[in-house]
């Protein structure tokens, strides 16, 4: 039986579309975990990246944090957190946030730091406050890169959020883990396909967000 047949069988089975283990429920759970993790990571990563990028300082410290964050295996961190804190949503959120902060932080820092200095100098010389310089001059130009950092983080979160199922939570990881235990490969492949599909939809959403928010003058000149 090839993979396409498995996918077809999974999605064709009406039982997979209802109830607490149905696709809509699991998908909603997965999106919920992912959004929450992305939101927390953005709340941490964006301000720090914006401020350090604006003043052009702290790059070495950021690189260190980022490397450390990327070096931590999410699954290992999850197990540690469960042993330490116990079961629940928090031990799942921690590895997801640790995973997502580095790309957001480092990309935002680089995006703001590398904005052409001459418009920034002109803006200051015309009497803009530092906050205005950051939000009216630097961020609009840095936006494509900042969005790409968020996009990377979002896709990594979506694929990694499957680990929530290991500690008894829901999400699309449920299908993969339960399927593996039950040797139900239809379920495993179906879950994996859903995760991949969700990641693709996320890419599409970020592309659309960039179309809407990035000025034509920036899109065309970079």
């Amino acid at each position: 039986m090839n993979v396409l047949n498995l996918v077809h069988a999974f999605f064709g089975d009406g039982a997979h579309w209802h109830g607490y283990d149905g696709i809509p429920t699991r998908l909603a759970e997965h999106i919920g975990y992912s959004l929450e993790a992305l939101l927390i990571a953005a709340v941490i990563g964006l301000p720090v990246g914006l401020v350090t990028g604006h003043y052009g300082r702290g790059g070495n410290a950021l690189a260190l944090i980022a490397t450390a964050g990327r070096a931590l295996p999410s699954f290992g961190l999850l197990v540690l957190m469960v042993l330490w804190i116990g079961l629940g949503l928090l031990p799942v959120m921690i590895p997801l946030v640790v995973l997502a902060v580095p790309p957001i932080l480092v990309t935002t820092y680089e995006a703001v730091r590398t904005v052409d200095p001459s418009p920034v100098d002109a803006a200051r010389g015309m009497g803009m406050s530092e906050a205005r310089v950051l939000f009216r001059v630097e961020v609009p130009v840095a936006l494509p890169l900042i969005l790409s950092g968020l996009r990377t983080a979002a896709v990594q979160i979506i694929s990694t959020a499957t680990i929530a199922a290991y500690v008894g939570l829901g999400g699309l990881g449920r299908y993969i883990i339960d399927g593996l235990y039950q040797r139900d490969y239809e379920k495993v492949v179906g879950g994996a396909a859903l995760v991949a599909g969700l990641a693709l939809v996320t890419l599409l959403l970020f592309w659309a967000a960039a179309r809407v928010t990035v000025s034509r003058g920036v899109r065309r000149s970079t």
């Binding site: 001459s118 803006a123 200051r124 010389g125 009497g127 205005r132 001059v137 065309r220 000149s221």
Partner: protein, 370 residues
């Protein structure tokens, strides 16, 4: 008036960018700060809008220390133009120009209306209003930079090497445009450049700075050329300052010879009257110069010598007249009126005499001024 009073800028590592500099920058005139790199000219400019704070000394604007008012309101009262224009790439041309009025709290509509006026003033076509900076040439971007600086009608304009990054032809156009705008608006302009020719062309007053941020000379350009304060200034002015100084002498005192002017269809009597001239300047029926001919030979339109570039007495300087005479194959320059009709010719010797006379007058004036 902007008064720079014994200002020193010393950085933490001990380098001195500006050293006890004092300057009185006159109102409604262009004051140029010029010097080699590392002479502190940009630092001096940036101290006027407090982008750099002086270590010692003070800067007074109309008698009040510039540190007395909030830094951002000071900056909004001074137009600021930088090299490469520094436009905001995410904003349209119109919104770039409207930046300072918007900062001052004007409505969007009023600010854009003002921006549209300024586009016309700096010679930008209205069709560019909705474009983005990347769609404009370097010269057009720099015009936008000037318009943006003028948008809130500030009394003071600070310009930091604004025309250095564009090619020489565009630069000349921008310089002429700046002089034209200045004639209309009469701003107090402080202009930084490393190009002494630009300084001499634009400056009402020119401050020459030397390495280490010390003032070498502060004088009107003609005086700079005729009486450089020391060997550094003389060296910085370059080899041909004598020739360049002629730009400041008018050509209206030149005695024009009219006898050598003959129309192409001149009759024998007319030619005989001009027989004593070493060369004849042949003109067309409207009196426009066609070229030079040897006296005595029959006038043949196809065998005339090129008449070179003519000058306009009164409008052009002695430098242009001399240049015309030097370039002319006969050694005579052609003078024309506003419509391009020949009004006379003048020899190199006559230009030379006019130069000596002008030097004499300038010397007497300088003595009287002292």
């Amino acid at each position: 008036m902007i008064r720079i009073d014994a200002v020193t800028k010393r950085y933490d590592d001990g380098t001195v960018a500006v050293d006890r500099l004092s300057l009185e920058i006159p109102d409604h005139a262009i004051t140029v700060l010029v010097g080699p790199s590392g002479c502190g000219k940009t630092t001096t400019l940036r101290m006027i809008n407090r982008m750099v704070e002086p270590t010692e000394g003070s800067i007074l604007l109309d008698g009040a220390d510039i540190r007395q008012q909030p830094v951002n309101s000071l900056r909004r009262s001074m137009g600021y133009v930088i090299q490469n224009a520094g436009l905001f790439q995410h904003r349209t041309i119109l919104d770039n120009i409207a930046t300072v009025p918007r900062l001052l709290g004007w409505t969007k509509q009023k600010a854009r209306g003002r921006a549209a006026e300024l586009m016309a003033r700096v010679g930008l076509d209205a069709s560019l209003a909705k474009r983005y900076p990347y769609q404009l040439s370097g010269g057009q971007q720099q015009r936008v930079g000037v318009a943006r600086a003028l948008a809130a009608d500030p009394p003071v304009l600070l310009m930091d090497e604004p025309f250095s990054a564009v090619d020489p032809v565009v630069r000349k156009g921008l310089q002429d445009e700046l002089l034209r705008i200045q004639d209309e608006l009469g701003k107090t302009i402080v202009f930084v450049t490393h190009d002494i020719d630009e300084a001499i062309k634009l400056g009402t007053m020119v401050a020459v700075l030397r390495e280490g941020g010390r003032l070498a000379q502060f004088a009107p350009p003609a005086e700079l050329l005729s009486a450089p304060a020391d060997a550094f200034v003389e060296d910085f002015l370059g080899a041909d300052r004598g020739i360049r100084r002629l730009s400041f002498f008018p050509s209206d005192a030149l005695e024009l010879a009219t006898a050598p002017l003959v129309p192409l269809d001149a009759d024998a009597d007319r030619l005989a009257a001009a027989a004593d001239a070493p060369y004849l300047l042949v003109t067309d029926a409207d009196g426009r110069p066609l070229g030079w001919a040897e006296p005595g030979a029959p006038l043949d339109r196809d065998r005339l010598l090129d008449h070179g570039r003519p000058f306009r007495p009164g409008t052009d300087s002695l430098r242009t007249a001399l240049d015309g005479a030097v370039l002319s194959p006969t050694g005579w320059a052609v003078a024309v009126d506003g419509d391009g009709r020949a009004v006379g010719v003048v020899s190199q010797q006559a230009v030379g005499e006019a130069i000596r006379a002008a030097h004499g007058r300038a010397g007497a004036e300088a003595k009287a001024a002292r």
